[in-house]
Symmetry: D2
Subunit: 293 residues, 4 copies
């Protein structure tokens, strides 16, 4: 089928390629003219036969909002916009309402797969009305991995991004689990070769997983991770997961601990631990260390 694709960066560009490999006709637009198939969104709409489907794959927040605003004015009743970016699920209902006023459908798609997606397919979690989702099925089929899994129509508008967000929250805690175990193994004398312990876990254990495979890859490149700084960004979904948990009074101790570990990893010195040091000094006369210059 025909599909418009807005945003041809690392993710969007690979998705265009995977869609074309599957025989779909993709009209791509990007602000970078070297990547773009068309000059602007008006031209993109012109090149697609109605009813159109336009997949938006740009950064969450302002950029996605701007593209959706523009699409609202160039698309027609009966068309569908898919937001495949990392938008917060709370934006989805807003977008669905804005577009719905003009008769334009809206579907949100949480997309997992990163740099591996072009080759192996992208896991898709989709939210929206049955009729919209049904019409996009050929696109989802082309993007998803081969095999029985990797795609779900999770529920109403917002359910796709919500499911993807929770996926990332789980991912945070799984990564933290391996990371904590790795640090502890590296710390003790009796274990000679932590990398080989990790490698062995890839079969027959309860904790075998794709992330474990990646951990082994990483240790093969740098056995003790000496070249890296223990510094980790967080991408939004982890924060939103905790916020959603708070809204719903759900305790998420492991996921939240994982998020906080990332926050702490980015601090050169910890203000709160300065206060701990100061208090220890006040009541016990415990020595303090001077601030790092």
């Amino acid at each position: 089928m025909q599909i418009g694709l807005v945003g041809l960066g690392k993710m969007g560009g690979n998705m265009r390629e995977r869609l074309r490999n599957a025989g779909h006709e993709v009209v791509g637009y990007d602000t970078n003219p070297e990547l773009s198939d068309v000059k602007n969104l008006v031209e993109l709409a012109d090149q697609l036969a109605a009813p159109r489907a336009v997949w938006v794959m740009v950064p969450a927040g302002g950029p996605t909002q701007r593209v959706i605003d523009q699409l609202a004015s160039v698309l027609k009743p009966g068309d569908i916009v898919i937001d495949g970016g990392n938008s917060r699920w709370t934006d989805d209902e807003k977008h669905a309402e804005e577009l719905g006023k003009r008769g334009i459908g809206f579907v949100d798609a949480g997309v997992s797969g990163g740099v591996w997606g072009l080759e192996h397919g992208y896991a898709l979690m989709v939210g929206g009305a049955e009729e919209h989702v049904e019409r996009l099925k050929p696109v989802f089929d082309a993007l998803k991995p081969e095999g029985p899994y990797g795609y779900v129509h999770a529920g109403k508008v917002g359910a796709g991004h919500f499911s993807k967000m929770v996926h990332n929250g789980i991912e945070y805690a799984m990564m933290q689990a391996y990371a904590e175990g790795w640090e502890l193994l590296e710390k003790v004398d009796s274990v000679d070769n932590v990398r080989e312990v990790f490698r062995s876990w890839q079969q027959g254990t309860v904790i075998r997983s794709w992330l474990l495979d990646l951990a082994v890859n990483a240790l093969d490149e740098d056995q003790h991770l000496d070249k890296l700084r223990g510094y980790a960004e967080d991408s939004g979904e982890g924060r939103w997961t905790v916020e959603a948990a708070i809204d719903n009074a759900v305790p998420l101790p492991a996921i939240t601990a994982s998020l906080f570990a990332r926050f702490a990893s980015r601090q050169d010195d910890s203000p709160q631990m300065k206060m701990i040091a100061a208090l220890r000094n006040q009541f016990g006369g415990h020595a303090v260390e001077a601030a790092k210059k």
Copy 2:
């Protein structure tokens, strides 16, 4: 090769079968005469040609200690004892020393695989001297899963159980990760079918794993887990992991949160939350609820 096997319960019995299927000659002993191949450990030792190897597969702590004490008196210099139970790594050095005084070798083996091991093999994490481990290689090869992984000589005596213990600590936090995500998804209205979201994650996602597959199995049996109580035992390794972390000043926030969640799951009412309720009542006049009868 020939091997003695002490303890023929669920795990030991299956291991005897897997070893025999691989062509090894197993002499098994169990206190239950219906399971046992011999009357006692003396007979077990008699039926094995020197140098002997005897695998101990009984509950950690007292039972393992008693078997090792008895083996110390019936085995001869040059023989090897393998402790394949869930012993704490700190016991291993003690056992190695006790047996070493009599010239008997000691190897510790952390074993993962549970009810799936007979068919798919047991992941093995082994600690001990190179010469002892080398001699037992045919046994390890028969027990481990087919394929390149599932076995590691992790280091000195104790390293096998230590690695297995950390494996279990990681397992706790991974289970907690999926569990937290599942509860949050079940709580929100927009997601219609959490089971199908979990199922879809089995391909193309960052969080695909064997535990995820098991979660899908569980949800196929009982979609909202309505039949279960949220009650979870802990088996020792999780506690030991946190204790080892404390000994080594390694922060383990996610693994520890997972352990504490299990402790809390077993309380009918939470004493600490009684104190929170009492304090809120004291300073704010907030209503309290009467204790459950």
Copy 3:
């Protein structure tokens, strides 16, 4: 000085009394005519000489918004509205802007003191412009405790509620600290009388505090808190504290753990622990318990 006071519930009623005891002229309004000094907000405004000051003491969110909307239409340029309720700091800027358009000043006041405030005074954390705060000084002086502390002009609009919110976050973790310690002491055999241990801590220790005094009061009423259920509400500020921390990438492990403990205390059964139980059953054949009816 003259002051209007909207909301004469438990808190507002006591504050009216404390202000009158200090010689101020308070015109109170409440939707309950038995508590109210005037029929409506128009009459309240009429009875105050310009420039007026009106203190709003109603529940956060909708009720506060509605009162502020009404005051916006009955007050005049030069008047000041004070929001002394438990509003989220993010509401303050909005209220300041709405009122500012009509020349009406806005000050936010975080108020601590609960049922003890009438007698001992209310701790006040105030945010707003220097000129507004200065004009209200006599009111703050009457409400605050005697002595050098208990009042701060914390910063710009919003700073009062933000400071109060953090106060409550700290409160959550302090309560949790005592509660955890109490549960552990109650659990061990060697300690005969936990209540007397708590009582003894009231002098000479590092952890003496007003909350500790309250804990002793509570234990004097019910030595083992047998009469209470371990059930604790949370009032909003704890959640907002964690959300503010997430917005600012500040790790708050102890405060967040305290919030999550309250969430968990309100669950009859834990959905996430059902998943843990289900997974244990899947891989290890561990027994599960049936759901409580």
Copy 4:
């Protein structure tokens, strides 16, 4: 009354002074002859009339064990040894048994007060048999703060150190509570003066405490704690508290989070966060930072 005192460091020296100020006759021994009243423990025993009481105030573990071993040989049946050091409660039963074989009594005393104890008194948590504790009452009365609190006979041998250990665990989490709140307040723009917010909290709030007073002192010396490094030792009791909780299956999320925050504060770089960074790089191509040199 007469009392022997072994260990005249910062704590022991001040305690000798406080005891003498109260009219007691103290015979002090220290390995440093400049501090010591007697040449050795034999002389110490000689100078005390039977039945003797000897207070041991030396570092926990080996040093305490050695002093108790020596006292076992110089003291007589009917004498009492008090361990006032920071011993682990599990040592107490052992010491009581060793001394008990020779008819010597044993009492454990957890002591709080630090550098403030000489002037304000030491809070004492005592474990042991009623008859032994009763005989030492005059000593406890002299050491404790004036007023109704600051002393408790908590229970059997071990109960004193156990109570003191839990006191310290609570202390960890209370310090963490203030520290987290302080960091968050320092981070936001609207709050101009965090120190003054802390100062104001000293009256009328739920969170007023001695630790809060100390925090204000610390901020008066260094308003933003710029001179300090966020580095905090832990002294043993925090670790033991978590270990005791694990032994008793009591969840301690806030106290444990506080302990882990200290562990993390002492790491120049976080090994576990290296693994997180490595995994993010593997699956998402996320940039990593080079290790700090």
